[in-house]
Symmetry: C2
Amino acid sequence: MGARTYRTVLIGAGNVASFLKANIKSPFELTCVGGRQRRCPIPKDADLYIISVSDRAIKSVSEELIGVEGLVVHTAGSMPMNVLPQERRGVLYPLQTISKKRQIPASRVPFYIEASKEQDIDLLRLLAESMGSKAEQMDSERRKYLHLAAVFCCNFVNRLYGITADLLEAHNIPFSVMLPLIQETADKVKLLLPSEAQTGPAVRWDEEVMAKQMSLLDDEQKLIYQLLSKSIHDDKLRLDKD
Amino acid sequence: MGARTYRTVLIGAGNVASFLKANIKSPFELTCVGGRQRRCPIPKDADLYIISVSDRAIKSVSEELIGVEGLVVHTAGSMPMNVLPQERRGVLYPLQTISKKRQIPASRVPFYIEASKEQDIDLLRLLAESMGSKAEQMDSERRKYLHLAAVFCCNFVNRLYGITADLLEAHNIPFSVMLPLIQETADKVKLLLPSEAQTGPAVRWDEEVMAKQMSLLDDEQKLIYQLLSKSIHDDKLRLDKD
């Protein structure tokens, strides 16, 4: 007689689904995995169904699962739990940037979880912990802001890294020269508030440097430069007033 | 008879000057340090003069040093070396975000150097190496782009961390929940190109999520959201075409 296992269906083939496929382990047991083209029919008697598809597709996929008794969860930060029609439902949101091109240990992927039934919180926590991660409870309303904030400090930050790479490449400077600066910028906010950590021409409002720098940019880069410089300046004025 | 030492004058009292003051060591010997209110008269026979003041003030400070025989350098990323009137001149630019509130080991501060005389490159390299750092040569024209790129991947990135903190604070979520994501976003570009590392609603061009997220923002945040999302999308289209 083995220990209790939880038969788990994973629907999806994107970045998060691939990460979960690679990391889900005992006492959870994947019985059917894949996107729309998967080979396996979805069993109706699994313990857990994880819908890890694009936000748009969650509703229609969840409707294929009407009548199952197991827990049905999605993995989307911005979608409320009640987009799922099941009475026994939940959310398993990994607050991390996950790409197929890069493996990341689950210990670096904190999960934010929610469930309609109290005991299912325990099940989702067990799932996270069995992967070597951890889980915090967060309701749909606050998770929405968590995801929004993540767009700023991850997706948009990465785009700024991309503009950095474009500017350097145009002048034959390798992107790697920026890595100590990128690392220290990230490290600084582990101990200082971002407003305390701010440096550069915009916080000193050095208009001469700013004008010279803007003259080196294309139109889209220039707009980003103006807007973020103004945001740095506005924030400084707000703080100086306090 | 001791080994050769280099008498060094450091003019300035800002973030970079404070960092240099704390880190300059043998064979360099600080003989006079401080901003405009310093107590010491500037000796005319020092080996090295480091002007670490605001970009605007470099010219007038350097004019106080006309006639000295030692090497005169500034520490500004955006200012050309020839803003200095001395024939024996140079630049010592630390490519790092430096704040008085945070000590950083010099080993994490790469210097980009330039000098009008070849042997002064060796002197500036010795200065960097004596601090436990290293130096690369870069001329004024390319250094200008280095500084511009640093504004994007450090100053602007830090402002996005600040907006992140504002959004979370308004919903009583501690900023620390974002640290694993901030770290991974920085780590990812050590191995992937920023364009390969990109995730989030804008790269999928998920207009429903983007519209919902923008409705949660104030006017300035909304403009930043729009502009950076568009920049992510434009970059994706460019790459898909290639």
